[in-house]
């Protein structure tokens, strides 16, 4: 009798969870999504004579920004074409004018119009060299995003990642679209795991120059400083988005714990006293909670706890290897990496571990996801092309675009928003 009840209970629960189980195992096909993008008309800029183009033209840069943004779909047209725009529901379009100026500079006027009425919604002008044109166009595109979506875009943000240069992993920084790459570390030993300090003033990363993983920080244009040298091996840095404090892993005698410390004073304390090993910490957007990985169940699984180290809960239950979670900027989902049959793939789920979505599949290893600061995109590294390169996809796995070429590029970390426009060359609307 008792057995039948248990059996019945099992069957009932199986039926009840059937729907969830189905969702758990179904991969979301790339390119099929319920997320609605905004069609945006794009017309090449009117050019005055005398410009020899070495770099991409304004509308080409803007088209790439729009397609990468995860918010827009470009409706390209050689000239203004209302029939085409209305057929594709492009209620707005972008175009402009370019003229050459003394000293090899370009004066670029950028406009956002309403397709039907040709009313001007936004106009900006920039006087830049061809080399700086990209950044100016990124700045304009962020204005377009602000105007049409009411949110900040990420066209002016950057990525830090690891690039193998002459056989050694070095930390580099580039614009979010992979252009303007700058090498940050120049060591003969491995550098890795870069993250951005607050205000995008510099990076924290790991280097092996002392024959062990150890954290260092470097403000851009300044010299490198070792961090928390009272610890033996330190890695997995995570910058508190509110205070700038650093949460990190430290290994001593085979045991790995989380510590939190002040990078200015060098003082640090243990974040949580746990019997298991912990690594890969990540702050929630308001720094009230922390995601991390623990091996308490044998393999790695993702847990969450309060910023005081209390109220620990397990988040992931599906699969035996779930690692390196990070919180979406809006705070409603996490992205993480899961290993299945020896292959790494990227998943997102709700904060309680439900509503799992597989974002990558059947394309080599896909690792190290990092959210764009607007939460619309995820950058990651993948060896789907044979070598490891950096890719950007939308938060739902659609629209995968490769942004690095050649060599080996891994472990991207997206910058924060830039608080001022000092890195752009905006001249102001006229």
């Amino acid at each position: 009798m008792r057995k039948t009840i248990v059996l019945l209970a099992l069957i009932v629960s199986a039926l009840a969870t059937g729907a969830f189980a189905a969702i758990d195992t179904i991969a979301v096909d790339v390119g099929i999504s319920v997320f609605k993008t905004i069609p945006l008309g794009m017309v090449p800029f009117e050019e005055k004579k005398g410009i020899t183009w070495d770099e991409e033209k304004p509308h080409q840069i803007l088209t790439r920004d729009a397609n990468l943004s995860g918010r827009f779909d470009v409706v390209a047209s050689d000239k203004f074409n209302l029939a085409l725009f209305s057929r594709n529901h492009a209620e707005y379009y972008v175009t402009g004018k370019v003229e050459p100026k003394a000293g090899g500079l370009l004066r670029v006027e950028c406009y956002l119009y309403v397709s039907k009425s040709k009313d001007l919604m936004l106009g900006e002008s920039y006087t830049v060299s061809q080399k700086d044109l990209r950044r100016a166009m990124h700045a304009f595109f962020d204005q377009v995003t602000k105007r049409l979506c009411g949110e900040r875009g990420v066209a002016s943000t950057k990525l830090a990642y690891v690039s193998k240069i002459e056989g050694v992993k070095q930390v580099v920084v580039s614009d979010y679209d992979g252009f303007h790459r700058t090498q940050i570390t120049r060591d003969s030993s491995i550098s890795m795991m870069p993250v951005w300090t607050l205000g995008n003033k510099g990076l924290v990363y790991v280097n092996f120059k002392t024959n062990r993983p150890r954290l260092y920080t470097k403000k851009f244009g300044r010299s490198e400083q070792p961090l928390f040298t009272q610890f033996d091996q330190t890695y997995s840095p995570a910058v508190n988005p509110k205070t700038g404090e650093l949460l990190f892993s430290s290994t001593k005698d085979g045991k790995t714990d989380l510590y939190v410390g002040n990078m200015e004073t060098g003082k640090a304390r243990k974040f949580a006293y746990l019997k298991s090993n912990q690594t890969s910490p990540a702050w929630s957007p308001y720094a009230t909670e922390v995601l991390f990985t623990s091996d308490r169940g044998g393999g790695p699984q993702i847990f969450v706890m309060g910023k005081d180290g209390s109220d620990m809960r397990r988040v992931t239950f599906m699969g035996r290897y779930n690692e390196r979670a990070s919180w979406s900027p809006s705070g409603d989902r996490i992205v993480y990496t899961s290993m299945d049959n020896g292959k790494m793939n990227i998943y997102t789920c709700a904060l309680d571990g439900s509503d799992i979505m597989q974002l990558t599949s059947n394309a080599g290893n896909n690792e190290h996801p990092t959210w764009s600061p607007d939460g619309k995109l995820i950058a990651f590294s993948s060896n789907r092309s044979g070598s490891y390169q950096i890719y950007i996809m939308r938060f739902d796995g659609a629209n995968v675009t490769r942004i690095t070429q050649g060599g080996e590029n891994t472990s991207p970390t997206w910058s924060w928003f830039y608080e001022d426009n000092s890195q752009t060359t905006k001249e102001g609307a006229k």
Binding site: K169, I190, M192, M193, F208, N211, R212, P213, Q233, Y235, S236, S249, T251, D253, G254, K255, T256, N277, T279, S280, T293, D295, G299, P300, Y321, E323, R324, T337, M339, G342, M344, N365, E367, H368, S411
Partner: protein, 191 residues
Amino acid sequence: MKNIAKYAIITCAACLAIVGCAKKEPPKTEPTTEPAPAAEAAAPEQPALNADSLAAEQARLEAERLEAERARLEALINQIMSEDVYFDFDRFELTEKAKELLAQVGELLIKEKRFTLTIEGHTDARGTEDYNFTLGAKRAMKVKEFLAAYGIENERMESVSYGKEAPKAQGENEEAYSQNRRANFRVNIKQ
């Protein structure tokens, strides 16, 4: 293990036997070998001073002895550094084979008190950098614990994790992976 000791003794004896003969090898850059040619050069100039040539001969013998000792230690260090301990995927328990090998290393360390050891833990290329650091650390620690239980002082050993950053074999196949899931040693000589 006995073989190694024997080999070392034979190497020693062989070196001593060569002492009598003139040095045929080109001069080495090792500082310990420098006194020998200098003494040889000095000897023919003052054949009358027997005491001096005796001292020179002794210095030469001493240099040869040091050189032999250095070679012997070097051979031992190379032996320890080539003894990699392998692990199963995402595991850090020592296999029987690993234990046999570690016992040999332990024996060497008991004999050579001046040796200190850095134990490096490694993983294969699969998985995240972060978790692989913790896994490498656990592997290195398991090796350290074994050697400590074997009788090696803890102060003589440190464990370091390299995660997946220092693979021995390249490639994305089980053959390479199994070579890379390892702990290896770096030997230092305490001065």
